[in-house]
């Protein structure tokens, strides 16, 4: 398996996802509703209360990175459902019989899901602008923030693929998917600073990759404070490498 073959496989997987997206965009729109409500309703109301120390940032601005991340991660976490469905049909059997490495397949599909997730964020982004969220007016910062969204979503897609290859059925997968996503969101700095949490939760938040992602995106998009960007990026990249590897190692087992 040459590097070339692997890239070819990855690009084919990304192309597949793009073609799917082009044929049916409704999912992207329906999935934009919930995050828009978070911003428009929860964010606007909480902005009036001033209960949470956001460091002088309006609350709606404060939660925008978290909401963007949540919506992209949502796409990724449920990407595993696609994999479960492909397992139930013969698609995965056939794919795993093709001359492609499992790493290329898993990473390719995770990246594909990451691309889909970025498209999701691109829909929410202008809505946030309309709601009056003030982004740092630096295109490089915004681009970098989207790169973070992409990297984190790709990682969560790999987790989802891993879960799919362990759980194997739709029902079990759904159960775990639901159980995972909200705690992940609440046990992070998406809605409130870590300092406000009870100590036990703080400990979880420090282990939560979402915390680093929120911190990076908030620095790049909202506060302009990028002093911790290097740490955040390191954490995200380590997270990606670990989950890509684990998901790939297990992937062939999905068809057994």
């Amino acid at each position: 398996m040459t590097v070339n073959d692997s890239f070819r496989e990855m690009f084919a997987m990304i192309e597949l996802e793009m073609r799917r997206l082009r044929h049916d965009r409704t999912e992207i729109y329906t999935r934009a509703i919930q995050p828009i409500l978070w911003l428009g309703v929860f964010g606007s109301v909480m902005s009036q209360v001033n209960a949470i120390p956001t460091g002088g940032i309006p609350y709606i601005d404060f939660i925008t990175p978290g909401v963007l991340l949540q919506s992209t991660i949502f796409v990724s976490v449920f990407y595993g459902l696609t994999i479960v469905w492909e397992r139930e049909t013969g698609i995965l059997k056939r794919l795993l019989v093709a001359p492609a490495s499992r790493y290329a397949t898993v990473i390719g599909r995770s990246i594909a899901s990451g691309v889909r997730a970025v498209v999701q964020a691109l829909i929410i982004f202008p809505v946030a602008l309309l709601l009056g969220v003030r982004f740092i007016p630096n295109p490089f910062y915004i681009l970098a923030a989207f790169l973070v969204l992409f990297l984190v979503s790709g990682g969560f897609a790999a987790i989802s693929i891993f879960v799919a290859s362990v759980m194997k059925t739709r029902e079990r997968f759904m159960g775990l998917g639901q159980a995972l996503i909200m705690p992940l969101f609440f046990a992070s700095n998406a809605l409130y600073p870590i300092k406000m949490m009870p100590p036990a939760l703080q400990y979880i938040a420090v282990m939560n990759p979402l915390t680093y992602a929120v911190d990076a995106v908030r620095g790049l998009m909202i506060s302009g404070d990028v002093s911790r960007l290097a740490i955040d990026m390191t954490a995200i990249i380590i997270f990606d490498i670990v989950v890509f590897t684990v998901a790939s190692l297990n992937f062939r087992k999905i068809i057994e």
Binding site: D5, R19, G90, R94, A98, S101
Partner: protein, 322 residues
């Protein structure tokens, strides 16, 4: 010459309990079309999945063109095409797009890609619906698309798990004509699982029958049919006089006869070799004074072969039906 497929003493036990394959030995010559027959749950799919490197056998060995399916699995995947028993195309993109993605996964060079895709569509008669979403296809169209995906990459061995399931007779015929012409053109070896005896009979060079994880018979279609050594001779009574019990027993006692039964005025005799048994039977009948207006003989079909080796019905002990 290396064998396209060489399987030795292969076993597969699922979950430590289900013995799906129980010591399979099998050889497929390069360029042959090989039909693998067997009742539901006999292990056909299991063998194909091992040969296509989807999982390891519990014990034993299997290789394709000298490449071991476990040790050299990555190499094996480069030379095989595969259509699983279940649907294996993406329903939310078009047929054309499915082929395009597959051609990319398999690394068909970009210069040849378009042409290869078009050829595959044409071969399987899908040009008109190429740009429609696969979810609007009929079952037969989906199956044809799957075969098209497998042919696209011009594999050395093509594995087809019940390739024509759900196709109407004319579509089945068309698919097989295409497969055979493809095989002639490219020298592809084809290994297919099926329940359709006529397909195995018409299109295969060789057949193996599997039952409960064991190969119970193999050979060419005509060898298998001959191996039954069973032909049914039918004697139609002229005057409606039934053969009496004693004569019936006399016929049964003939060495070449495996059974004889009465069906109203018709006497059915199962024999190994009709041409040699016939004079003896006629001898017994005329000595007992029975005359017949017509004698017919039915040679066994592949269905009979299947029932004999893999079915529950036993020819020798068969009561009513021979």
């Amino acid at each position: 010459m290396t064998l396209a497929i060489d399987v030795q003493q292969l076993t597969k036990v699922y979950n430590g309990r289900i013995r799906a394959l129980d010591g399979i030995d099998l050889e497929v010559k390069a360029g042959h079309i090989f039909a693998f027959l067997g009742p539901n749950g006999s292990g056909k799919t299991t063998l194909m999945r091992i040969l296509t490197t989807q999982f390891r056998p519990t014990s034993g060995q299997a290789s394709s063109f000298g490449l071991d399916v476990v040790r050299d699995s990555a190499e094996v995947r480069k030379i095989i095409g595969y259509v699983p028993q279940e649907t294996s195309v993406w329903a939310d993109i078009s047929g054309f797009e499915n082929l395009l993605i597959y051609s990319k996964i398999y690394g068909v060079p970009s210069g040849r890609r378009k042409k290869a895709v078009r050829q595959a569509l044409q071969r399987m008669g899908l040009e008109e619906v190429a740009t429609n979403m696969v979810k609007t296809y009929s079952g037969g169209m989906v199956r044809r698309l799957e075969i098209a995906c497998a042919l696209l990459v011009e594999p050395r061995i093509l594995f087809l798990d019940e390739p024509t399931i759900g196709l109407d007779p004319s579509a089945r015929k068309a698919v097989w004509q295409n497969l055979t012409s493809f095989k002639k053109e490219h020298g592809t070896t084809v290994f297919f699982n099926t329940h359709y005896m006529d397909e195995a009979d018409l299109y295969s060079d060789e057949i193996a029958i599997i039952n409960r994880g064991k190969i119970v018979k193999s050979g060419t279609a005509s060898e298998l049919k001959q191996s039954l050594r069973s032909e049914i001779l039918r004697f139609y009574s002229e005057d409606g006089n039934n053969v009496d019990e004693r004569t019936l027993n006399d016929i049964r006692d003939l060495s070449m006869v495996s059974n004889a039964t009465l069906h109203g005025p018709r006497l059915d005799v199962a024999v190994e070799d009709g041409e040699r048994a016939l004079p003896l039977i006629i001898g017994v009948l005329s000595r007992a004074g029975f005359t017949f207006s017509r004698i017919s003989s039915a040679k066994p079909s592949l269905d009979d072969v299947f029932l004999r080796y893999a079915g529950q019905i036993n020819f020798k002990e068969g009561g009513d039906d021979l």
